[in-house]
Symmetry: C2
Subunit: 558 residues, 2 copies
């Protein structure tokens, strides 16, 4: 006991700490103490149709745990979920890890073969599945020999599952038949809580995983970073939250945990339908969301958006660079837009591009430029940019290096994949494979993915830099820049451009090249950066999480 | 290695985590990553005279570590500091724990005998001492046989220490002669970082102690709680911080760590002289402070305060209840005042009384009442109110119980004091010895210390409740209510009152009793609460940290 240790000597006090009752492991259940003390009447809304209070959330978490325990879920069991963004998903975020089980959030945008691979590779034994995904599950059922239990999620309450699939219960029936009390145990804070698979453009999906300790530290620290700016761009207790990054993807950037801890009203939109999303923002007075740039672009382009009021809406953009053109369009609509940086391997948040205190009014150009940069490391993050020998490169806004990072919430490796894990953690830092500069003001600016950098005429050209310049052309709605083989230069940049549908004026490849050329003249970019080829398309191929699919573009460029 | 563990089985992954390189222990040095990335030019001011940048702070931390290492400080060495609030103290907050040594912050308001006891009891081997405390140190030097090294802190640079004290160096000379690089090592996050002694009103001072993990978690979580309210009462990156709780006392409530992590301008006032403090608020544009009520009262009463502009000043009041009268006076001066609750044993913050989002305008009375309550548990805090058998009492705003708590940052016990540690942690929760109610809105309201509750006529009367009512009398500047023995009732309340100096009207004991009586009539308080005796005094005895000394008052009441 601690008092005996005290008597013996000081050093043994310290050894006792980690094991003692008062050491208080950082478990996900701890995130519920504060909201349950003051926000029990606050509401959580699903598709504008279902409304539950936080008090009901707590009850439903206990019901779900009781139900799953009855179905055989134990400490260490992996439970896979296939659902749209919903209050149910939020319940799974808490109940499953709080039992000591592992929540696998299945990326339902992957191919059938990939979905089967990820569920089986994660050793999932139980699958909770929305009726919309029954055809997928039916097709892959026999590839999931470890899965012994299926639970149906039926929004309408009247779907008959296909005869090949046997369900132990339906989600709402399971909850209704289970008790509202569950004694969630204490256990080691390093117990795995969640896992999901990254959608790299090469090879099979790779599993990342996070412990209770990591998710609690990520939640508290991102909350501290999001709430601390002086004005604008900050999240506070009066906000209404709605994710626009799917809950299967890096646990929606961890934001549902933060929103719950803060006791915010939460709105879960189900499947993302742009018109419906715009309506929900109005109906539920949503003030805070996060998404990739392409989702915001899609929303701003939908018919309902023309007349919508976005002036109370804060949006964090991540998962890829925020093009200047999109940032400007968002600011002009009154959206308080800013950038975050991270990836599946990092839980995900590493930096936030919040404005620093300033008494000076800023021009729109300055605003756009500041908000598009990837920002400052959030607390506790040790972020470096290094050369190939892991030596730090100068923070002068000019030198580029790979971003390597340590933080309390990075995946410890890829699940059951020792070779990839070793590469990820080479040299004791997690390698992001992103190339970046750091300015004298400390702001990080991601310039490219290592594999997307265009090596032209002995120089490295950032595909993102060129995209950003092209996106400033008034006729351009979207652009991807890739490297294509060149006998003479090694590689040369090529641009794939989508024009604004309402763009009346004809725009030629030469117009785009001339537009970029002016930045060469002002010294903003090297002459190697001017795209040799400009191709106009109706839409740009995306990955399953909505990013520009440059691998596909490179392979299919002709 | 982790990838071998991965191959073996899932469970062993988890066991490896705590030991692996990527486990990233929560060490105090991690708090410097973010400010050093973006706030290197931000300033830290001492008495308006010395100004250093954060870049210099980082250099001076390394210099101090190099200097102390030269003087024999090693992992586990306890270094005691006797100084006023200063940039030097901030440097000690970081450098000493970051070396793996233990910082003892000496309460310089204790008696000589107590100071000697605390330094010796903590096993301190090195003492850093400001010239103002040389007489104390000279008097107790022979009671400190373990102390082998003294370092002088000489603001003027020309003080000759008394012949009986031998100094190894002077603080600024030590830094000047030491290098600006120090490779602060990684070690177990449960390593003790700080210790200091509580000033209980009974018995010898008791040592509390906190690990790196505890201080990092307290810093991040209190930052998250302080920054998240919707408007007012919130700390942000544009704030200018000045402590008015001494840095020796519970590391100034942990706020210097938070201010540094946030990259705020910081102002350290040296010794607290009310007029000078008011001037510093103006000169350095201070916007955020924290103190006990008596310090704020003292400041508002000083001559300079009459014409000062406090309208941009946020103040957290802790260390005792905030009387309604003081809250009202502060609000009327434009001060954004709110309450925090905690104690030395709890690092200290447990709750913050921030307003919840509301679209309704509030009356001044409502504001005062909300701001005086002790608020909501901050994230991760498991706070209960319980009866003598540790059963939860209802959260109905009526039932009282002792506040017991678990959180990631509570002292594990009292240093080298197993008996007191056992009492503190009885039943697996830390016992605060505070009596409180929790309302249906989740707000905690401390009603008394267990030992200060007045047991009168079979009822428990809260001395704080009666003080709060009396403080609303316009002529009352300060009041303490204590229980005095009564043949008939067991105990009866007695009030010790200080009248406003400018109060022209004569006020009698009967006037005060009549004032309280009206609240009996409205049912707000029981008739047992009306003080039997009202005594007028010029000043009320305080403890060394400025709290009402009720023990002294009880013992000296005649």
């Amino acid at each position: 006991m601690y008092h005996e240790a005290n008597q013996a000597n000081d050093a043994s006090d310290e050894n006792e700490d980690a094991q003692s009752a008062y050491a208080y492991p950082l478990l996900i259940k701890r995130l519920l103490h504060t909201p349950m003390a003051h926000a029990r009447e606050q509401e959580i809304v699903y598709r504008g149709k279902v409304r539950i209070s936080y008090a009901q959330l707590q009850e439903r978490i206990a019901r779900l745990a009781n139900g799953l325990e009855r179905l055989g879920v134990k400490h260490g069991t992996t439970v896979a979920v296939m659902d749209w963004d919903s209050h149910r998903y939020l319940e799974c975020y808490f109940a499953i890890p709080m039992m000591g089980a592992v929540l696998q959030t299945v990326n339902i945008r992957l191919s059938q073969a990939e979905i089967a691979y990820t569920i089986d590779h994660a050793r999932a034994e139980v699958v909770l599945v929305h009726t919309d995904f029954l055809p997928v599950l039916e097709a892959i059922r026999e590839k999931l020999p470890r899965v012994h239990t299926l639970v149906l999620i039926d929004d309408e309450g009247n779907v008959t599952p296909p005869p090949g699939l046997e369900f132990a219960d339906e989600y709402e029936r399971l909850l209704a038949s289970s008790g509202t009390q569950f004694d969630f145990p204490d256990f080691d804070e390093n117990t795995r809580a969640t896992t999901f698979y990254t959608t790299g453009t090469t090879g099979l999906p790779k599993g990342v995983y996070f412990s209770h300790r990591q998710l609690v530290l990520h939640t508290i620290t991102v909350m501290a970073a999001l709430t601390s700016p002086e004005d604008g761009q900050r999240v506070h207790r009066g906000d209404v939250y709605m994710p626009l990054t799917p809950m299967f993807h890096v646990h929606a950037w961890g934001m549902p945990y933060i929103a719950t801890l803060m006791g915010l009203k939460q709105v879960y939109p189900g499947r993302y339908v742009p018109d419906r999303i715009v309506e929900l923002i109005r109906e539920e007075a949503v003030t805070y969301s996060h998404c990739v740039g392409t989702i915001l672009h899609m929303m701003l382009s939908c018919p309902q958006a023309k007349t919508a009021d976005f002036s109370k809406w804060k949006v964090v953009i991540g998962g890829g660079a925020l093009p200047n053109g999109l940032a400007r369009a968002a600011l002009e609509r009154g959206i308080d837009i800013f950038t975050g940086y991270g990836m599946s391997e990092t839980c995900p948040v590493l930096t936030l591009a919040q404005l620093m205190p300033s008494r000076e009014p800023r021009t729109l150009d300055e605003e756009v430029s500041l908000r598009c940069r990837t920002g400052l490391p959030i607390p506790l993050v040790d972020l470096r940019i290094v050369d190939e020998e892991m030596r730090d490169v100068p923070h002068d806004g000019l030198a580029s290096g790979e971003v390597v990072v340590r933080a309390p919430w990075l995946t410890q490796g890829y699940l059951h994949n020792p070779e990839a894990s070793k590469v990820l953690w080479e040299g004791g830092y997690l390698h992001t494979q992103d190339v970046a500069r750091i300015g004298t003001d400390g702001y990080l600016q991601i310039t490219d993915r290592i594999k997307d950098v265009i090596k032209s005429g002995g120089e490295w050209v950032s595909s993102l830099d060129v995209e950003s310049l092209i996106s400033q052309h008034p006729a351009v709605a979207e652009v991807a820049v890739i490297g294509i083989k060149s006998e003479k230069w090694g590689e040369r940049p090529a641009a794939v451009v989508v024009l604004h549908p309402e763009c009346a004026m004809p725009v030629s490849a030469e117009d785009i090249r001339t537009h970029v050329m002016q930045f060469v003249e002002t010294g903003k970019i090297s002459k190697y950066a001017v795209p040799e080829i400009v191709k106009f398309v109706d839409a740009i191929e995306k990955t399953s999480v909505g990013k520009l699919n440059k691998k596909w573009l490179r392979e299919n460029f002709d």
